[in-house]
Amino acid sequence: MNDRKGPGFRSGPAFEREPARRVFAAELRETRHQFRDGEDEKSPTYVLIPTGVRCNRIFIAGTLTEKERRGDQNAYYQARIADPTGLFYLMAGSYQPEAMQQIAKIEPPAFVAAVAKPGVFESQSGALRVSLRAESVIVVEKDVRDLWVLDTARATLQRVDDLGKSPDSKKAQEIYAPDPAVYRRMAYDALAQMKI
């Protein structure tokens, strides 16, 4: 709304929270490009997903199927969340105390809604993997999962329609050369698993 030129005495644009993107597990699994927007130490980092949107945060709703507590001194939780296309591997350590406590209380299997920060790291075998640091994990009703599948399918189809229309999307085309048919199929298969 505010595209008016602000008066000079204001100190730049107001802080804007990063939106939580909706991405299927199968698309996130293909992600391997990470970048920082700006030189500053506090500049946000993003992963660029194949359909061409930068993600600093993602929102997922699915079934928490397994959780595991690891480490002694620096205990952390790992959780697997299933969506219709695959699995999200979520992590919550001592820097995510809220999410850690929430996961500790959850009895799998359960429908959960989670907010997480994605990052790309290199595994021991040298492959690039996406990690998810959980911000919050909350037990929800089944209809939240259903709405999320619709929401994520809609967002995926929109990104496919918008391929090449933004600088980020163009960059994603160079890096991943995404085939629109693959992602339409992904959305279709996810939707088709739901019972009308």
Binding site: K5, P7, L147, Y188
Partner: protein, 407 residues
């Protein structure tokens, strides 16, 4: 004497003509004229501008342009000649200023300032004047016409009818504007010089208004539709407000269905600290939330607080996020807990108010909602909130969209 503003103005004019100005040189020339030769700043500005214009063979800059211009087409940094009617005079904020007000022609209106040292004849409201070589500039984002020592001011006879063009509230921008609106709310005045403040709106949106105490000013009647001609549109912290002191307010027939705010759909992605059970300051008209130690930022320690429920959160549709503030009745319905229950829970539980926060958060965070309300200070004050339900029709539509093109 600080001449950096004048230097900047000249430099910007040069830049607008594609020339890279030497700011140091411009400033030193100005200083020489003003400090050593005692030239008026406005005259020094004109001299330097003319000199530069000659140097770069530019035309139409700084020279006295006598071509009449329309107010709506004025651009910041220009020297202009125009003819208009003084539609309002406002109280000058400083002795350095002789007159301030609004001048209008058939195309639009602009605020003006007449500097005291310009020694110009006093203009009268309702009369027409021709202003030669006035300067358009900007103060805190508001375009303004500077009437200075170099301006020639001549009264003219004119009976051109002025019909201000009315703009929708959503298109308001800092400056001067005329609107047709309904008074939807009247607020408590926050200042002794203030006569009235509140909210006016049309089909496209709402905006705050202020009327200052001045002779002959009357309050607007809530629920009534008005034509507000030549109101001053101010911006503060990114929010607009209408100053009606100089405006002409004419009641109008009919009614307006005022926009009741936007509806935003998304996930309640975050429930912020400060949500849940809160204590409010009991002092009349205060209502601020107290700290854990029952401390009000204005009225200090308050033992007789009132409990309240609220949610401060973030609604996120995957592309845009909106801060939302949700009041008690809606929180009770969303979280399935009444204020009394919450109070009892806080008093009987070792975690106290934190327990209420967790309970509410776990009931609402991560869920899909449609929320309606007005956005004030970057936060939507939610008036309606409903769960979004799963629509099989939507699934069918998306299946078509995904499958129709893939196969």
């Amino acid at each position: 004497m600080d001449l950096s503003e004048v230097t900047e103005r000249i430099s910007r004019k040069m830049e607008s003509r594609g020339i890279t100005p030497d700011r140091k040189k411009i400033e030193s020339k100005l200083h020489r004229l003003v400090d050593e030769f005692g030239v008026h700043v406005s005259e020094a500005e004109r001299t330097v501008m003319n000199e530069l214009a000659r140097e770069h063979s530019l035309t139409g800059m700084g020279t006295r342009s006598t071509e009449l211009r329309e107010i709506k087409d004025l651009v910041v940094g220009e020297w202009v000649t125009l003819q208009g009617k003084i539609v309002a005079l406002t109280t000058a904020p400083s002795p350095a200023i002789a007159q301030t007000g609004v001048i209008a022609d058939p195309s639009g209106a602009i605020r003006f300032v007449v500097w005291a040292r310009a020694n110009l004849p006093v203009m009268e409201a309702g009369k027409w004047y021709r202003l030669e070589s006035a300067v358009v500039d900007e103060f805190r984002g508001v375009p303004k016409l500077n009437v200075h020592g170099g301006t020639t001011l001549t009264p003219v006879e004119s009976d051109t009818p002025l019909i201000p063009s009315v703009v929708p509230v959503k298109d308001l921008a800092p400056g001067v504007a005329s609107v047709r609106v309904k008074v939807v709310q009247e607020w408590e005045v926050s200042h002794e010089r203030m006569l009235q403040s509140g909210l006016v709106g049309d089909e496209t949106g709402t905006v705050k208004f202020i009327v200052w105490k001045e002779e002959g000013k009357e309050k607007l009647v809530p629920g009534t539709v008005y034509h507000l001609y030549y109101a001053l549109v101010d911006e503060f912290n990114g929010r607009l407000s209408l100053n009606l002191s100089p405006a002409t307010c004419i009641p109008d027939e009919g009614d307006i269905a005022v926009a009741s705010g936007q509806t935003f759909r998304g996930v309640l992605i975050h429930v912020a600290p400060g949500s849940g059970l809160v204590k409010r300051c009991p002092v009349e008209g205060c209502n601020r939330v107290l700290s854990r130690q029952n401390y009000c930022p204005v009225h200090e320690i308050q033992k007789e607080f009132r409990y309240d429920l609220r949610i401060k959160g973030v609604l996120d549709d995957g592309t845009v996020t909106k801060n939302v503030l949700i009041q008690r009745e809606l929180v009770e319905a969303m979280a399935g807990i009444t204020l009394d229950d919450a109070q009892a829970l806080a008093e009987s539980n070792p975690l106290g108010m934190d327990e209420v926060f967790l309970r509410i958060r776990d009931a609402v965070q991560g869920r899909y909602y449609a929320m309606t309300g007005n956005e004030i200070d970057g936060r939507i004050l939610v008036r309606q909130c409903s769960h979004i339900a799963f629509e099989p029709m939507e699934l069918a539509g998306l299946l078509n969209r995904a499958g129709g093109e893939a196969q």
